[in-house]
Subunit: 228 residues, 2 copies
Amino acid sequence: MPTKPLSRARIVAAAIDLIEREGADAVSMRRIAAELGVGVMSLYNHVPSKDALLSGVAEAVLSEIEFTDDPGAHWADRVRVQARAFRQIASLYPRSTMVVVSRQLHSAAGLLPVERALATLRSAGFDGAEAVSMLRVFIAYIVGSLLREVGVTPAFAPVSAPAVPSAGVDPALFPEVGAMASLLGTCDHEEEFEFGLEMLIQAATARAPGGGQTGGQTGKQVSREGTR
Amino acid sequence: MPTKPLSRARIVAAAIDLIEREGADAVSMRRIAAELGVGVMSLYNHVPSKDALLSGVAEAVLSEIEFTDDPGAHWADRVRVQARAFRQIASLYPRSTMVVVSRQLHSAAGLLPVERALATLRSAGFDGAEAVSMLRVFIAYIVGSLLREVGVTPAFAPVSAPAVPSAGVDPALFPEVGAMASLLGTCDHEEEFEFGLEMLIQAATARAPGGGQTGGQTGKQVSREGTR
DNA sequence: AGAGTTGCACGTACGCTGTACGGCGGTCAA
DNA sequence: TTGACCGCCGTACAGCGTACGTGCAACTCT
């Protein structure tokens, strides 16, 4: 038994490991092969292309989401749990998250979260169209948040990294940005994520058939047999 | 007058043009040079690296956002206008949007939208910390939405493209997904975007110092001091 | 047991990439 | 006129993804 027999799973694992250690740019077939101590072309016996390998990475990362869904809980709490589970992979595999997010994956790995989320939203009383739209909104928010956390945030980070947080921008041109430079420069990602999540849940609650009387637990959710 | 003198702007414009025509993967220094009818290395007299060029692309695209901000309008309407302006670039330069979104840019081009947005949120009565948090939420949602529209959506598109919209998934494993396959397969991006935008605005309204008497719904939800 | 088939690992090679380096021609100041 | 400069270019190098052919091991069938 000289070496393990080199399977697709082992290749994907090596790729994830390499991405996390040296970034997605460092990933090349030669590099991965060297990491595994095999020839470059041996990889192609298990993976049809580099693109497919990256899809495999996305799938593997995505499939590690832990869903401890409790169908008996209030739907809002179930949404919270699922959103956080989704976000948790970003902290486990920060650099791979970019790969996951910037990739259209056509596998069933991404379907299970959708299934759970739809069931949850349906249990809140939303009809099909509403549930789908709402799911899309939540996903958009989560993906956008992960993108920021991963560090590849789009528009407003320049204040933090390049320019000095507390200065560096012309206060005459950008008075607001200048005044809040310190706030813009720092960000508690978890707190920020929760903040937006609560906003969305609140908005969803207001749109739920139950209406806006959500003061307490309500406890009146129909919860009609979640699955099947 | 043989040819125009080849400036950074012309190079960036050619890059954008090429991205839109053939996708971001087709972009190479040689390709762009050929497009402009010059030698490859001539580009490096105006652009330090390919990475900087792509940053230039992001900056150029971002700077084309038209902000017709009316400080007299209701803040909610101003938020709507700004969010739509931001989204509009995705329809103008769909494929370049991926470049913009997946790139940390350190220029002032991305600062102006931030300035405008902060001013708007401040005018709604939010203090600095609230305005910044809320801005981040809106940006996360917008970025996530654009990512989906551009076609690189993350998790739940597989239903549409690969599997037949109205079938193809095992209804036993994924009953909800199966039942709503047709809904998941089609998406009116504009309508979807507006839907989430209204959700966020409603949630923001409920958190505004003015209180929640705007929409009529929402009712309680004191939302004391944002974070929990 | 021998023959045939299959599957995996590998080396080589091709066309592509980004870019460091040096040369070449034209314009302008002295 | 001469020298300096600047924009343009060709060459070269290391690295990329992967198409192709070869050889070795194990398994199946007669």
